[in-house]
Symmetry: C2
Subunit: 294 residues, 2 copies
């Protein structure tokens, strides 16, 4: 069982749900996500991660379609269903959701604990045609204090930016949950590990944090998704998955989140976050004002 | 043949030398490094990368030992030998070197072109007992304009910090050369890819840059090095190596450095460096003043 006492030893059973939402069928998608949550709970899961945009599907044709399918947080039907499940089973859920907020639509994730909505993350780095439908994230990279540890969220393409992991780690995250709808990368060799998995491993290792990725599978309006959901430990090694590229399934792992703090010390001289040379990095990494070579 | 016209198509043959220097035997180490350079030239190499500290070996017992073995740049014997070889064969050499500069000793790399010493990089992130002998790098993350493209250098543990790759990319690097003396990481699964290789792939992919790692092999005063030299393309995939964990060898690849600029565009909306959310990253990444969770 997990504990929320910071620094205490804890074993947390984490489940990443790899499923195939259907575009536009919110009711069925939410019901199916709840079935997977129940299955994960039967397997002892205390934290369940669901894929990106899993209430609506991904491949919108127009902004209007996305807007009509989106829901407000925390009042909408998917959030309410997940909140009920989290309360019923005393678990934490992190779920990708198409969110409407006033006139804006966001590619978001809700973090929900046993007592309700903990917080929302909004995808900072939009991929491809998402740019046509969504506003960019405006909530930074928040770290949520939950009964399942200190959790940050990154959505799919966000992990292409090592800054995402770094900001999470610098704010104390033990675990980064990654709802995803990964698509094939150009030039990916067929037999190689998915680059998304490589990036999850790298982000986990360099920051001594756990990373739990719940990707989707299936095909939607010509777009294929690659599955390969994976849970990576704080040393950067997969401890569950990568899952199949094309089947719905749940990957499960027991994580001792305390190791995310302890294992940052690599030896008697080195500690991954303290070794950063902020004096060298200067302002360049966070600044728009320096000339860049693009 | 390569060309130094920026933006032009170019094919550059790059060699990474995986060798086993012997601690303290500078004359023999330099002679051996030249043999490998000659061998790489016979195979058509136009840029040759040599391992970290390859003039002296790695496992110093005292600072005095390191200081006595170190040499000044560019006047010392190793730099002179590499300069002569670069001139003779009209190539570029990037070589790890134990450098003495006044009272300071640095874990450095020299960049040498056909007309002589181009510049020096000094390791920013010191590993383990290096802290006892070396000063930290004080030259930033420079990008050198050479006949073999725009080259940045990172040494071994430097690539544990994604900021290193990012700073190189933001300053226009086409290729990051990585002289290394990688040691086994705790908890590395025996059958898995070396984490150092994962980090090279991730750094290359996220920045659309080539990465060429020349690691050492062998054992020295109880320390084992892991080899696995690798050349990674701008998409993040190994195109030569990983080499063996324990044999001296040369890995070779032909790189079109122009792809480091062209392939940053992933589709009609996304470009890896432009997609960065510097407004979100803010000052945290380059600042010492924010409270961090270590």
């Amino acid at each position: 069982m997990h504990t929320d006492v910071p620094g205490a030893e804890s074993s947390l059973r984490v489940a990443c749900v790899q499923m195939a939402p259907r575009i536009g069928d919110v009711e069925s998608n939410v019901a199916r996500s709840i079935e997977f949550v129940e299955q994960a709970v039967c397997d002892g899961a205390e934290l369940v991660v669901l894929p990106e945009l899993c209430n609506t599907g991904y491949a919108f044709e127009t902004r209007e379609e996305a807007s009509n399918l989106a829901e407000e947080v925390p009042g909408g039907p998917a959030t309410r269903a997940w909140t009920a499940a989290a309360a019923k089973h005393a678990i934490t859920i992190v779920a990708g959701i198409t969110e409407r907020s006033g006139d804006a639509i966001h590619n978001s994730a809700v973090v929900i604990g046993p007592t309700g909505h903990v917080g929302t993350y909004r995808k900072n780095h939009l991929w491809n045609r998402e740019t046509l439908f969504f506003e960019r994230g405006d909530l930074g990279v928040p770290v949520f204090r939950t009964g399942a540890g200190r959790i940050a969220v990154a959505i799919s393409y966000d992990i292409w930016f090592p800054e995402t992991f770094r900001l999470a780690a610098l704010q104390g995250a033990d675990l980064v949950c990654v709802p995803a709808n990964w698509v094939p990368m150009p030039s990916q060799p067929e037999e190689a590990m998915a680059m998304a998995n490589v990036l999850a491993m790298s982000g986990a290792h360099c920051n001594a944090m756990f990373v739990a990725c719940a990707d989707r599978v299936g095909r939607e309006r010509g777009e294929t998704f690659i599955g390969r959901s994976v849970i990576v430990n704080q040393a950067g090694w997969p401890v569950a998955g990568p899952a199949s590229p094309d089947r719905e399934e749940v990957v499960l792992a027991d994580l001792n989140l305390s190791d995310a703090r302890r294992k940052r010390a690599l030896n008697e001289f080195n500690q991954l976050l303290r070794d950063r040379r902020t004096d060298v990095y200067g302002e360049m990494l966070g600044s728009d004002t320096r000339p860049g070579w693009y």
